[in-house]
Amino acid sequence: MSALKDLQNLIQDKYGLDATALGPHTSMRASGVDSLALVEFLFDVEERYGISIPDNNPDLDTLAELAVIVDKLRAAQTAAAG
């Protein structure tokens, strides 16, 4: 199951950005999530899922893109555990 909905809830709780303010394909930067806010959000996402998001996604700018990364990492996590 995609983490997208969970990520939407997380960013709404952390920064007050609900789905109308920040859709899955809306630019986070354009919505006021600057580089520092993004770093802190990604840290929270890592803590929540127990994953480490590789530092090789400089263009990451939407929740949908982030959800793809998180889903892959979680799938790998599950596979490793299995």
Binding site: Y15, G16, L17, A37, E40, F43, E46
Partner: protein, 400 residues
């Protein structure tokens, strides 16, 4: 040389965020000190700020912004509003001068206590110049934005340095003050280890700090931020600004003798320098908001310094340490006490030297009584801040 005047005041203090109401509370002798962190082995007291960061920041603005910076942004904003805004000045000709002793203590404490991964913005949240940077970003200030970390004299030094820049024409407006927010268990434990904090019986925290009293036992920590808007007298006149006072003189000196032990000679050099710059005699100054930390040695040395400079006029100098009521804001102390001194001068009311039912006779000072005092003839007042490290700072304000 330009004259420097005070045209705006802003505080986020243990007595609230309205400067006039804060002064009223101090005049009434209301203590903002209370017991904190009951889990600590040794009882602790502090004066903390009831601060709702949502009034000043959206959630999106808060990543990496420690409490010390939040308080600074709010107090600076209030000071600028009080001065009528910054709309009629080139923002490259505005400076921000901030005293901060420690920096983002909450961020550092949280990092230590995280128990695992350290939050990624701990460093920008902790760095001592963060409050100044956040004030500059909030107000769009593009001139000099400088932080002074001189322990307990930090913000008095910042105000003096701002005044110098105005005096020599480097800037037209300064937002000068300080911020400190270190009431976290780790820092309180460190101060307890230093053996300078007041001891108190259960239920007696509010009266724990007793400056210049026979039964004094040290200070209590406080947190908060305070800022003054300083500008040249010419600019203030031209725009019809309400002016609280003139910053007529300031004196900076260093004991150069001991890291933590105060020295009357060093303090006297700061006091005399402030008088000299203002062109005033001791008898011209009617009120001293003392450093007055209520430590056994500190109060004696400060009293010696004052008597040494004021001489025969010492009896006419009324003295109080308001730290008894708002705690010791350390890097923010000089700024909050400067605001109190300016308002004392402006309103000609002297805040009490509270919690001093038994004045130490060895002091030889004319302490402001518990009920406070009116001072209808008051023309000038000083605020002193003496720091660990030996730096002494005295600000001298005069009525316009």
């Amino acid at each position: 040389m330009n004259e420097v005047v005070v045209s705006g005041l802003g505080v986020v203090s243990p007595h609230g965020d309205d400067a006039q109401a804060m002064f009223d509370a101090v005049m009434r002798g209301e203590s903002a000190v209370q017991a904190v962190f009951p889990d600590l082995a040794c009882p602790a007291a502090a004066a903390t700020v009831a601060f709702d960061e949502r009034r000043w920041f959206t959630k999106l603005q808060l990543p990496g912004v420690d409490r010390v910076s939040q308080l600074a942004v709010a107090a600076a904003d209030l000071a600028v509003r009080d001065a009528g805004g910054l709309t009629d000045v080139d923002h490259e000709r505005v400076g921000v001068y901030v005293g901060c002793g420690m920096g983002g203590a909450t961020a550092l404490e949280s990092a230590y206590r995280a128990g695992g991964r350290v939050p990624p913005l701990t460093i920008p949240a902790f760095m001592p110049n963060a409050p100044a940077a956040h004030v500059a970003m909030r107000l769009g200030v593009k001139g000099p934005v400088i932080t002074y970390s001189v322990a307990c004299a930090s913000s008095a030094v910042a105000i003096a340095e701002a005044a110098k820049a105005l005096r020599c024409g480097e800037i037209d407006v300064a937002i000068a003050g300080g911020s400190e927010a270190l009431i976290v268990p780790g820092v309180v434990l460190a101060w307890q280890a230093m053996m300078t904090l007041a001891s108190f019986a259960p239920g007696e925290a509010a009266h724990a700090c007793r400056p210049f009293a026979s039964d004094r036992s040290g200070f209590v920590l406080g947190e908060g931020a305070a800022f003054l808007v300083l500008e040249t007298a010419g600019r203030a006149r031209a725009r019809g600004a309400r002016v609280y006072a003139q910053l007529a003189g300031w004196g900076l000196s260093c004991d150069a003798t001991h890291l933590t032990k105060p020295d009357a000679g060093g303090q006297q050099r700061a006091l005399r320098a402030a008088l000299r710059q203002a062109g005033l005699q001791p008898a011209d100054v009617g009120y001293c908001n003392a450093h007055g930390t209520a430590t056994k040695i500190g109060d004696v040395v400060e009293a010696d310094a004052l008597r040494g400079v004021w001489g025969e006029a010492a009896g006419d100098l009324q003295v109080s340490s308001t730290k008894a009521l708002h705690g010791h804001l350390l890097g923010g102390a000089g700024a909050l006490e400067a605001v109190i001194t300016v308002l004392a001068l402006h309103r000609r009311q002297l805040p009490p030297n509270a919690n001093c039912a038994n004045p130490d006779p060895a002091m030889g000072l004319n302490l402001v009584p518990q009920a406070g005092a009116s001072a209808p003839q008051l023309q000038a007042a000083i605020s002193s801040s003496f720091a660990f490290g030996g730096t002494n700072a005295t600000l001298l304000f005069a009525r316009c």
